[in-house]
Amino acid sequence: METDELLLNMGPVHPATHGVLRFKLRMDGEIIRDCEIVMGYLHRGTEKLGEMKTYLQFIPYTDRLDYLSAMPNNYAYVKAVEELADIEVPLRAEYIRVLTLELNRIINHLVFMGSLILDLGANTAIMWGFREREKALQLYEMLCGARMTFSYMRIGGVREDLPEGFIPKLNDFIKDMEKRIVDYEQLINGNEIFLLRMKNIGVINADEAINYGMTGPSLRGSGVNYDIRKLEPYSIYPDIDFKACVRKECDSYARYLVRMDEMKESLHILRQVADTMPAGDIITTQKYGIAPMTGAPSAVMTYFPRIFTPPVGEVYTRTEAPKGELGFYVVSDGTTKPYRVKIRSPSFCNLVALPKMIVGLKIPDLIAAFGTIDIVLGDVDR
């Protein structure tokens, strides 16, 4: 029987595209013959804004890249500037940073799990994910006063010290999470329909994944042991006991399992960090920093100079954000503002591999594969 190809526009406004993304699908019935990704609907010119703002002022903008995991964005930028200016960070600040980073990894994966299951049509898990996320957000609110756009990292340290009663609350959260993860796994992992939808769907093998520049859990789901925390250890990760989670199946289910494993691994890291939190400064007093103002009403507040000029040079740093490799390329021309800021965002690089995964499959498979790549449109379009 002769059939016409159908051009289907999925998005920019569609329930399953997680924001404003558009797929131009050439369909043969329900089978996808070709997929073109049209992005840029959320472009805000963040990189250009980086050239317009001082080093300190750009930190709040990094919150808005991947708004589900703002802390790793903060950290990646701050780390780049620190390497540029060769700033030593106090040990306590590094511990607090890793604590917030891993907490954010859990938040990100909770939202990932919820939205993936929602995309597959089961509506329950998303609220469970948000229920636990709320507890983590309350921890963040205690710590830095914001729930999503933290702007908590500062060049040379962090903004505020841990508040009183933070560590006990964190321990409560860890204990609670461990029980909840059992619930998630009971609901999802063995579910036959879920397996039917996820196994052998969206397969991308290791070579292709590397060629497309995939990173993070999506790449580790294809059996490549590529975790920047291990390969190029930064901060206090060398001192911490954890393992990179890898699965060999290359399909959507493997990518999902990697993230569930990572959540447990992050809890493990959190427990270690909370137990061995050292005392000390939370921001550098080295050459740019000034000690917290004495006699100020809120002594927890740290002070870093507004006008900060790193030496001329350029730097590219990469960190393991929850979604993959997050890199910041910062060029300094010796003034108070960067000459150029380039962001290598994990969502963008992972997203371009999607057409490879789904050509020849059906629309529901597109949704499933798309969900396991775990993108945030703020990160894709910047």
Partner: protein
């Protein structure tokens, strides 16, 4: 279909059904957690970054907050013969850089998150709305 011959017992779905049943009847520490928002509000952390307020006595109108703001939210305006910051919250990122930058520790960000309004003009919080007088403990 090989799938059904392996999975005819649907044990995974049974497990899932048990978990959801536990949630329906709140068995085993699975309570209802949401709050009835407009009638019942959650407690905010002391560090919560909400609407700004400026200490009337401490502020010297130096304009450092104006310079440090990444988004051009703050403008220094004259009010009762003195200079005070004016916040256009429609542009505010609530990043707290002005709080950090204030040399007199005059700016506070606390409480106030219900800021939705009908016009852009009403989002401009002038000194008449943000100033407060600190109570002196003797």
């Amino acid at each position: 279909m090989a799938w059904i011959s392996k999975n005819w017992a649907m044990t995974g779905i049974m497990k899932g059904l048990i978990v959801t049943l536990k949630h329906i009847f709140h068995i085993g520490n699975r309570p209802l957690v949401t709050v009835q928002y407009p009638y019942e509000k959650m407690k905010l952390a002391p560090r919560f970054r909400g609407r700004h307020s400026v200490d009337q006595d401490a502020c010297i109108g130096c304009g450092i907050c104006e310079v440090s703001c990444p988004n051009g939210t703050i403008r220094i305006v004259k009010y009762n013969g003195r200079w005070f910051p004016e916040f256009n919250l429609g542009m505010c990122l609530f990043c707290g850089l002005c709080v950090d930058a204030c040399p007199m520790n005059a700016i506070k960000m606390n409480g106030g998150y219900e800021l939705a309004n009908y016009s852009r003009e009403s989002l401009v919080y002038g000194p008449e709305r943000i100033l407060f007088k600190k109570e002196v403990n003797k």
